[in-house]
């Protein structure tokens, strides 16, 4: 059982490739900082979304094909790409009016 667990962990870690620390999005008072985040096109990228609010948020983007719930006062890793050059909007689904931003692939 433990070997399966380890195997799954390795599978998750190995192909991920990109470094999560390079891209960080912070959510505070239902606003993303930065609102625009530039990533290289045509490669997989990991973005760490830090939720500084006490309430949970769902990082949501049809363009990036991501739906991820991030609990209050915690962080989550979002894996995206490879992306064609372009603009990819995302929102915090629970606070759509304020929590929004764009990933720019170039």
């Amino acid at each position: 059982m433990r070997s399966i667990f380890v195997a799954v962990c390795l599978l998750v870690v190995v192909p991920a490739g990109a470094r999560a620390d390079d891209y960080v999005l912070t959510l505070k008072d239902h606003l993303f900082t930065p609102t625009e985040i530039k990533v290289p096109a045509n490669q997989r990228v990991m973005i760490t979304v830090v939720n500084d609010d006490a309430t949970p948020e769902e990082f949501d983007s049809a363009a990036l094909k991501v739906e991820k719930v991030i609990a209050g006062k915690s962080k989550g890793v979002v894996r995206i790409g490879p992306l064609q050059p372009g603009r990819y909007p995302f929102i915090g689904e629970y606070h759509e009016a304020t929590a929004k931003g764009v990933v720019i692939a170039e």
Partner: protein
């Protein structure tokens, strides 16, 4: 309040569509009310538990826990739907005959009901946990919470009403056709779920092959609009599918039909009411 209503409503209708189809698909099967209630009840409880442990689930497996969890939930639902359709291919005719003759149900209903109760439970769990988290957020933030909360509750009520409408709409289909229609619906439902599951595996970093986007129809119908969401649940509409998603979608449909064909009793064996 309206915003909260819409957010909750659109989560609830996704589960509601599935519950409505399952109810129609089990028409005439004894004990289905109880099984579906167990499914919904279990799903609501599960949603609470998942919401409570959202942080823990998210951080498991190097931050890919939530994706793996969602993929597993969808994967199990797909298997249960396949099992149900195979069972129906074998026994659907008997049930339809029986319904026509005596207006009551047959005795051998227990099998697909467990499978479908699981499907209902998982659908409610998945969408419900998002509703719970959202409502929790409202209550935690305090300010102007009550109006939002009323919106949320109205959203749940609206979603439940939508489930009823789906069911009643499907009931209008004559008995003769009901099982073939629901089998089709369930096949498309399963294919859509499988395509979603594979994208979660991609987000987890597990299945990264064939990840190019094939086309973009978001200008025509956004996957996030209410109608887009309905189609997303119902037939697996994705406005920007990857190659892998299309492949898995088609493969699931083919697997489903092969399974149903294999399960179908041969014309001769059918007459003496082949039980198992």
């Amino acid at each position: 309040m309206l915003g909260a209503l819409i957010i909750v409503f659109r989560e609830v209708i996704e589960a509601g569509l599935i519950v409505g189809i399952v109810m129609a698909a089990t028409r005439g099967v004894p004990g289905r009310g109880r099984w579906i209630s167990i499914g919904v009840g279990g799903g609501v409880l599960g949603a609470g538990v998942v919401a409570m442990f959202a942080g823990v689930i998210s951080e498991a497996f190097q931050g890919a826990g939530q994706e793996l969890f969602n993929a597993s939930v969808l994967g199990i639902a797909v298997i249960m739907l396949m099992w149900h359709n195979a069972w129906m291919a074998r026994h659907g005719r008997e049930i339809a005959d029986e319904m026509r003759r005596v207006g009551t149900a047959v005795s051998e209903g227990a099998k697909p009901l467990t499978a479908l109760a699981v499907v209902v439970g998982l659908a409610v769990l998945r969408e419900g946990s998002e509703v719970v988290l959202f409502l929790y957020g409202i209550m935690a933030s305090g300010t102007s919470g009550s109006a939002l909360l009323i919106g949320g509750v109205l959203g749940i009520a609206g979603g439940a009403a939508f489930t009823g409408l789906t069911y009643l709409g499907l009931l209008a289909i004559p008995n003769r056709h009901i099982f073939s229609v629901t089998s089709w619906l369930i096949a498309l439902l399963a294919a859509g779920m499988a395509a979603q599951a594979v994208q979660f595996l991609n987000s987890a970093g597990l299945v990264v092959a064939l990840d190019r986007t094939l086309w973009d129809t978001s200008w025509l119908l956004s996957e996030k609009s209410i109608f887009g969401r309905l189609l997303h649940t119902l037939i697996g509409y994705i406005d920007r599918p990857t190659e892998m998603q299309l492949l898995v979608y088609v493969a699931t449909l083919i697997a489903m039909f092969l399974l149903m064909r294999v399960a179908r009793p041969s014309p001769r064996a059918r007459i003496p009411a082949a039980a198992e």
